[in-house]
């Protein structure tokens, strides 16, 4: 089964992203909990790419693979002139966040909670965010 797909840069494309992920999650034998966490982290990164690079025309590529030692490797690849490295964002001050009842920045916080590894690469205008989930 194909482990890579490209998706249009729009919120409405999420339904197709989730369909693609569902097939891979079933193939890899993920639990309901793992499925939810993978869907959520991919949505957060995908929507960050949609929002931070909204004028670009190219599609966003997502790949999902499983290693022999039961790691799910998820990569999202985008063309970005102004790269946004989510691994460099400050940890959310949840006390302050809750106190002020803000509503932004939660996505990256959730990714850091749910994934075992996150990395970011940027070369020649192409950004790649890779997340690893041990299952």
């Amino acid at each position: 089964m194909n482990s890579n797909m490209k998706f249009s840069r729009k919120t409405e494309e999420l339904v197709n992203v989730f369909q693609f992920l569902k097939k891979k999650e079933i193939e890899f034998g993920c639990t309901d909990r793992q499925k939810m966490e993978i869907d959520l982290c991919v949505e957060e990164v995908f929507m960050n790419m949609v929002r931070h690079n909204s004028t670009a025309k190219n599609k966003i590529q997502i790949s999902v693979n499983k290693t022999a030692d039961n790691k799910i490797i998820i990569s999202l690849i985008d063309h970005e002139d102004h790269p946004f490295d989510i691994t460099k964002t400050d940890d959310l001050d949840l006390e302050d966040y809750v106190e002020k009842k803000k509503s932004g920045g939660l996505g990256i916080h959730l990714i850091k909670q749910m994934m075992d590894e996150i990395s970011f690469e940027h070369q020649r205008g192409i950004s790649k965010i890779t997340m690893v989930k041990n299952i």
Partner: protein, 98 residues
């Protein structure tokens, strides 16, 4: 796909998946409540940060008017999202595990 069922002026049932593509629909539905709002989330399987943002904004709007936002019957996975973000300290969450 998020399904929203309006029970009365201040009570709704949410079921399905509350992702970024459903945020506008939920925002419109919750735009004009006239008292403390209760949302039954028994059928909700998934909520992302955009869904949480809609709920936080609804909470802020209600709080300014002296009302609150009550969330009921969250499943374990959805409940944990609120726990990870500490939003369980903001909302009035009523479910079998609380």
């Amino acid at each position: 796909m998020l399904t929203i069922e309006k029970i009365n002026d201040n009570e709704w049932k949410f079921s399905g998946r509350f992702d970024a593509s459903q945020a506008d629909k939920a925002t419109k539905e919750l735009a004009d409540p006239s008292g403390t709002v209760t949302i039954d989330m028994a059928g909700l399987d998934y909520i992302s940060s955009m869904g949480l943002s809609v709920l936080v904004n609804t909470y802020k709007h209600l709080n300014e008017q002296g009302f609150s936002l009550r969330l009921t019957n969250l499943n374990r996975h959805v409940r944990d999202i609120f726990k990870y973000t500490r939003l369980e300290q903001v909302f009035d969450i009523v479910d079998p595990t609380s």
